[in-house]
Amino acid sequence: MASSGSGGLSEVDYEALANLRYRIRKFRQFSTKAAEKLGLTPQQHQALLAIKGLRSGGQMSVSMLAERLFVPAASAAELARSLEEHGYVIVDVKQRRRPILRLTDKAEEILRRLTPAHLYEIREMAPELMLALRVLQDHRRMEVAAWMQ
């Protein structure tokens, strides 16, 4: 039992976790710069991507946007207003209790411009990210195996 819980951490775990966070920071920094170059805040970009990434037939409400972006409902409503003001979304208020956000052609175009560079960047970081994830997964498995013996 001595190796269970917080006692079973090795230097490798800390190193892998630190590397994982570094890669994620690098990716987010890249993404922020790419969005800002096209005049979008990172949060506006993520809102547009969240809407675009819905399965066909899916509808994005303001409250769902809040959940997907991990922001308070009031911030999501404010974000929706600013996206509408800039012509990136149309807020469909047919169902008054549940306004739906739809992308405009302008939003589709800006996402088409932003996404290829993101896919390229992900391909670059994926091996390192997956390695860190596997080290962290395997380590837990090894810990359990050691405990079971």
């Binding site: 800390y14 966070r21 993520q46 675009k52 990434g53 991990f70 992900i122 994926a126």
Partner: protein, 143 residues
């Protein structure tokens, strides 16, 4: 040389959107976990970067700035706060007196041990999905 497809599919957007959602969920979890230990997320990341640092040379403020992707003066301020809170101690580098190296205190080791254990649990939950999405986005480009 494989050339990427020029057309983006709905599946690409869906995978990219899911990737970002998964990363945000992890960050949100991490921020809350650090806050429960009384650490702002940046301080937690600084301690983790020092602890996870491998290499012959000890961590310096300049290296910390690079790892956290922040300006050197911000790293200096951050280290000042960590020193005041008793998480980090500064030592003059014996090889270069102008440089200071950073070391974790026992207090920092204790907090990191607790935080890292729960992060590993969270990562074990998210890893299969994250690896699946990453593979998918890679395969798309290299069929």
């Amino acid at each position: 040389m494989k050339t990427p497809r020029t057309g983006l599919t709905d599946a690409d957007y869906e995978a990219l959107s899911n990737l970002r959602y998964t990363l945000r969920r992890f960050m949100d979890f991490s921020t809350s976990a650090a806050q429960e230990e009384g650490l702002p997320t940046q301080q937690h990341q600084a301690l983790l970067a020092i602890k996870g640092h491998r290499g012959e040379d000890a961590m310096t403020i300049g290296m910390l700035a690079e790892r956290l992707l922040i300006a050197p003066h911000s790293a200096t301020e951050l280290v000042g706060r960590l020193v005041s809170a008793g998480y980090v101690s500064r030592r003059a580098d014996p090889n270069d007196k102008r440089r200071q190296t950073l070391e974790l205190t026992d207090k920092a080791e204790g907090v990191l041990k607790r935080l890292t254990a729960i992060h590993l649990t969270e990562i074990r939950e998210m890893a299969p999905q994250l690896i699946h999405i990453l593979k998918r986005l890679q395969d798309e480009i290299e069929p």
